[in-house]
């Protein structure tokens, strides 16, 4: 549609029909003031929503974190920093935090490497690559409940395919969903969605200017060298994006819960130690023990840690990540 086609019907639009003075003709209101008022009007749903559904709950959690509130008994008390001193001296906090850190440090790089590898493979000019792309991406759209049930079926001690395969090779069946193997099942459930990184990297790969590859080939660069020195730097904004979203996803994953036999929040008590991540620690305080005050303190500590972590990620990558400052150069 061209601009003319759109503006023509509007000449006889609502303002003309009603015969009221149009806003532009109204005296006393400048165009700038109108634009400013409109800006606040348009952004207000998000501003109000952010205040009511993010700031208020966070402030409420902060207030609760200074109390012993449990949701039922009316006799809660203000304990100041009591919950915070307790959580810092609780080994469960540190252990679960360490596990979460380890989980993020393994799952995020591994899915990025896997996704990038897949992207390079299906970027080759081969027959049927569209089909390969679709099939490899498909697991990434499966909702968490589907992933949890699929992996429980795959890694069931009796009926799971995983034990079926390893017993074929003469090994003993493993209790995959309990300690110490549950962490690997969790990790594999993340890697199953590597198609996410693949799809996003693929778009990045196709944006890499051809001339760069040709120039590198003429200069006699090896395929690996080209990949390392041209492809990866050009993909670095995508990879940074994936790193940040990956870290956030691994902090808040409920997959450990879905992999328990119950699969519900009741499952927090049945979690294998190796999948007892920080968020699961929060859940068990929240749902198994009803300690809303203490759990809120845990949430606030996590919130501050995430602020620090994302800050550090951006700080350390600011010199490394390459942004194409001249987007027209792509064409």
């Amino acid at each position: 549609m061209t601009v003319d086609q759109i503006s023509v019907p509007d000449r006889t639009g609502p303002a003309a029909r009603t015969g009221r003075a149009t806003p532009a003709q109204r005296p006393g209101i400048s165009m700038t003031a109108r634009r400013q008022r409109a800006f606040y009007l348009f952004t207000s749903p998000w501003i109000i929503g952010f205040l009511l559904l993010t700031i208020v709950p966070m402030a409420y959690a902060l207030w609760l974190s200074f109390t012993t509130y449990d949701g039922i008994s009316p006799h809660w008390t203000y304990v100041g920093l009591g919950n915070y001193t307790e959580l810092f001296s609780d080994p469960q906090t540190w252990n679960s935090l360490g596990r979460t850190g380890l989980f993020a440090l393994t799952s995020v790089p591994l899915s990025i490497i896997a996704g990038l590898g897949l992207a390079v493979l299906v970027n080759r000019p081969i027959k049927g690559r569209g089909l390969f792309r679709t099939l490899l991406y498909l697991p990434a759209v499966v909702p968490p409940v589907g992933v949890g049930l699929t992996f429980k079926a795959l890694f069931d001690q009796n009926s799971g395919a995983a034990n079926g395969v390893i017993t074929l090779f003469g090994f003993d069946a493993l209790g995959w969903l309990s300690d110490p193997y549950a962490r690997y099942v969790l990790l594999m459930s993340v890697l199953w969605a590597a198609g996410n990184v693949m799809i996003i990297s693929l778009a990045g790969l196709q944006d890499v200017p051809r001339e760069l590859h040709e120039a590198a080939r003429i200069d006699g660069a090896s395929a690996w060298r080209t990949f390392r020195s041209i492809t990866v730097p050009l993909l670095s904004p995508v990879l940074l994006f994936q790193t940040v979203t990956g870290v956030i996803a691994s902090v808040q994953t409920i997959m450990p819960l879905l992999l328990t036999p119950e699969g519900t929040t009741a499952g927090v008590t049945a979690l294998p130690q190796s999948n007892y991540l920080y968020m699961m620690h929060v859940f068990s305080q929240y749902f198994a023990l009803g300690r809303y005050g203490y759990a809120s303190a845990l949430l606030w500590v996590l919130f501050v840690l995430i602020l620090i972590a994302t800050g550090l990620i951006f700080k350390f990558t600011s010199g490394v990540v390459f942004y194409n400052v001249d987007p027209e150069a792509k064409k």
Partner: protein
């Protein structure tokens, strides 16, 4: 084998063929690993309880128990839960798409003091894990009596989602300026400009946003589990927690069949929306 090719000039072609063979083998094996879990879930859904409990594993069911899929429908009120999921997803996806488009238009085409700060907060809020706000929000909703109603999804829908706002902002910012200038001269308000001029232009983003929001909601497990009682809850919750006998033992084969039926609609939506969707997803990740 092809390395022993007698003709020197056919060597490169043979090497390419070997390369291609290796590439295909690798791809087929990897794709098999990625698709295999689906197959296993379907097979699990076609076995008898005895076969599922047997050790060592029964690779294939002796008789394919196709009736498991019908039984999974009848053991619980599958359609009722599916309807709940659908209602919540439609409410949320419709509202959040419209509100995000509305807010995105503000950030793309209008200006006022504080815009940069607000946009910074919007982007920053994407990095806040939703699980952190969900737990205290749940306590507040409980206090307001909104537990066991669909109001939380209405509110979340009206509040716009930062990721979708960003999507719309990028799209609207790319449209030519002349688009609204003529309308402003004609005296149209910004509401009219948005509704009559910008929204009709944005079908690709509107549908991408709707599909994304719909799949979020359909896949969401923790919010409905916290906020809704069992009979008002969604399919995600029902599939995970209600496939048990009266004695409380899980009915794993029917649960597997049910989870296939829970996942398939999302896969279908993705496959149908694929072209526009993948393109939309992949470009937004870059900017």
């Amino acid at each position: 084998m092809t390395a022993t090719s007698p003709l020197p000039d056919s060597a490169p072609r043979a090497r390419i063929r070997v390369h291609r063979l290796v590439l295909y083998t690798v791809l087929v094996v990897i794709t098999g690993l990625f698709i295999g879990p689906f197959g296993w879930l379907i097979l699990s859904g076609l076995k008898t309880p005895a076969e599922l409990a047997a050790s060592p594993v029964h690779w294939l069911p002796t008789d394919f128990q196709w009736h498991n899929f019908a039984d999974a429908f009848n053991l619980i009120d599958f359609l009722g839960y599916a309807r709940n999921s659908l209602i919540i997803a439609l409410i949320y996806a419709t509202l959040v798409t419209l509100s995000s488009a509305w807010v995105g238009f503000g950030f793309a085409r209008l200006d006022a003091p504080g815009k940069k700060t607000l946009f910074g907060i919007l982007i920053g809020s994407m990095m806040l894990p939703q699980m952190i706000t969900l737990l205290p929000t749940y306590l507040i909703f409980a206090k307001l009596g909104m537990v066991d109603t669909y109001w939380p999804w209405v509110l979340w829908g009206l509040a716009a989602a930062p990721y979708l706002v960003f999507l719309f902002r990028q799209f609207f910012a790319g449209l030519p300026r002349e688009l609204e200038e003529a309308a402003i001269i004609d005296g149209c308000g910004y509401g009219t400009i948005f509704w009559r001029i910008f929204l009709p232009q944005s079908w690709p983003v509107l549908s991408a946003s709707f599909v994304i929001a719909f799949t979020w909601s359909w896949g969401d497990y923790i919010a409905p589990q916290l906020l809704l009682s069992t009979d008002k809850s969604t399919l995600a919750v029902a599939v995970m927690s209600t496939y048990v006998t009266s004695a409380g033992t899980p009915v794993a084969n029917l649960q597997a069949a049910a989870s296939v039926m829970y996942v398939v609609p999302i896969l279908l939506i993705f496959l149908i929306a694929q072209r526009g969707f993948v393109a939309g997803m992949s470009t937004t990740g870059l900017k």
